[in-house]
Symmetry: C2
Subunit: 283 residues, 2 copies
């Protein structure tokens, strides 16, 4: 059994992982690190974590695994700060939504310990943030993508894989570039569309929302995501997100053409294909 797992940033994802580790007896101690001791104390009292500290040295020392679960924009600072406390035995991982930038950031900041960093991304979440919203089963049957770095040892990779599988997830491996292209499409793009839909509505007629049916409300749910997290993702996965928005706009242009020309056959085909594909995902 693992002795100590440290979670840097006990929010929705960090808190849910902490709970899953405790519930599945994956480690003797789940240790939380953060800047705000009141929040950490509350997380301990509500059994999200076993112990905590606002002292990074104390948090990292003797850990088997350190999980960075803060917004990706904070990684550079955190990696730089934890470097002095690393040993060859500590495996570091993250839960960030972007992976290409992190690979180069790790080699810039961690030096000799770069090979101990196993980049990972659990594809799970909800529109609420903070450990108060955390759930031990958040990762159940969800995908976790590990994007190994060249120098990672198979033992370190396996340790992180087992942690996630123990938390109920299904682990896949791919390159950081494939990850960012894929998630740019399946996660970042829909979030950008949802934020923009709400912003468009604000600009046109904010009170219109009382006439919105369930579909609109579902659609806009993801526009309640954490603003700082999404700001960071946009900057970290800038090129892919811009490409996907522009590609998507071309799809919208084709739809506008079909509507403008009252092309019934084309509209039928567009909507039928979308419906079939969507139903096949659910079915």
């Amino acid at each position: 059994m693992i002795n100590k797992i440290t979670i840097i940033g006990v929010g929705l994802i960090g808190g849910s992982l902490a709970k899953a580790i405790k519930e599945n007896n994956l480690a003797k101690v789940v240790f939380g690190f953060g800047r705000d001791s009141e929040r950490l104390e509350k997380a301990q009292k509500t059994n999200v974590i076993d112990q905590y500290s606002t002292n990074l040295k104390e948090a990292v020392s003797d850990s088997d695994i350190v999980v960075i679960a803060t917004p990706v924009g904070s990684f550079k600072e955190i990696l730089t700060e934890i470097k002095p406390f690393l040993t060859g035995k500590i495996v570091i991982t993250d839960v960030g939504s972007t992976k290409t930038n992190i690979a180069s950031l790790v080699s810039q900041t961690l030096g000799e310990h770069s090979n101990s960093f196993i980049p990972a991304h659990p594809i799970a979440g909800k529109e609420k943030s903070g450990f108060e919203a955390s759930e031990s089963n958040l990762f159940n049957n969800k995908k976790v993508i590990i994007t190994p770095l060249e120098g990672n040892s198979s033992d370190s990779i396996s340790l992180i894989q087992k942690m996630w599988e123990g938390a109920g997830a299904d682990v896949d491996f791919m390159s950081p570039e494939s990850h960012d292209e894929l998630l740019g499409m399946t996660s970042h793009l829909p979030h950008m569309l949802a934020f923009s839909l709400v912003n468009y509505l604000i600009s046109k007629n904010p009170s219109a929302s009382i006439y919105a049916a369930g579909g609109f409300k579902d659609f806009s749910r993801i526009a309640s995501g954490d603003a700082v997290m999404w700001r960071d993702i946009c900057i970290q996965n800038k090129d892919q997100i811009i490409d996907h928005i522009k590609g998507y706009q071309k799809t919208l242009d084709s739809l506008v053409d079909a509507i403008k020309n009252e092309n019934s056959d084309e509209l039928d085909l567009l909507f039928t294909n979308a419906k079939k594909t969507r139903d096949s995902w659910v079915g």
Copy 2:
């Protein structure tokens, strides 16, 4: 108590209204009309409707209210066909998602009976179609918008208002133009965006859907809407839908600029505003 309400098109909306009328004892008989007698028989056997016929004269005669609950593209044909069986006592209404085109269609087709047509639109639905998916409480606390025509009598309007209120809905009144502008934004636009997102994914990498998190799935749920219904809506509310898609694309362009320039403050503001507004709708 109303004697007979006839539902033309016993699908999700028609079937749900039929069930709501029966459950709330709003009429002695709920009579279904359709083209397929097997489907109607099944709807009768599962207590969606009391009686049915594939003969329009039989269905319409002696009705107090005739509700047209078929896709809006079929209205011209249906209105033309029922005209011979209308009397001054029959009030006709619909459940269509577009209202401006219907106003002119009614005066073209119904002649002297135009004043008996009360256009209405219940803002409720789900991604499944057919009376098998119908629910008596589908309209509970949902908005129904009535867009009265100039010649409508207050008695006729009141009859349709009471039917919907009896079914649990909250009735509002507005002009057909305001309705189409509003619904173009709160309903038609999100559906166009969802259909297009799925179509974009198909064009890029259909198998990517296994890496889609809950947000994407919620978002794409409305892309399972009925293709024929949405084709008709696009053609009937063409100008408003095109305007809204183009307006939305400008909002996307601003977002692309903010991402391109790595404008953290602007991104923060865009996402925070969207989140605040969205949360206020739910709260």
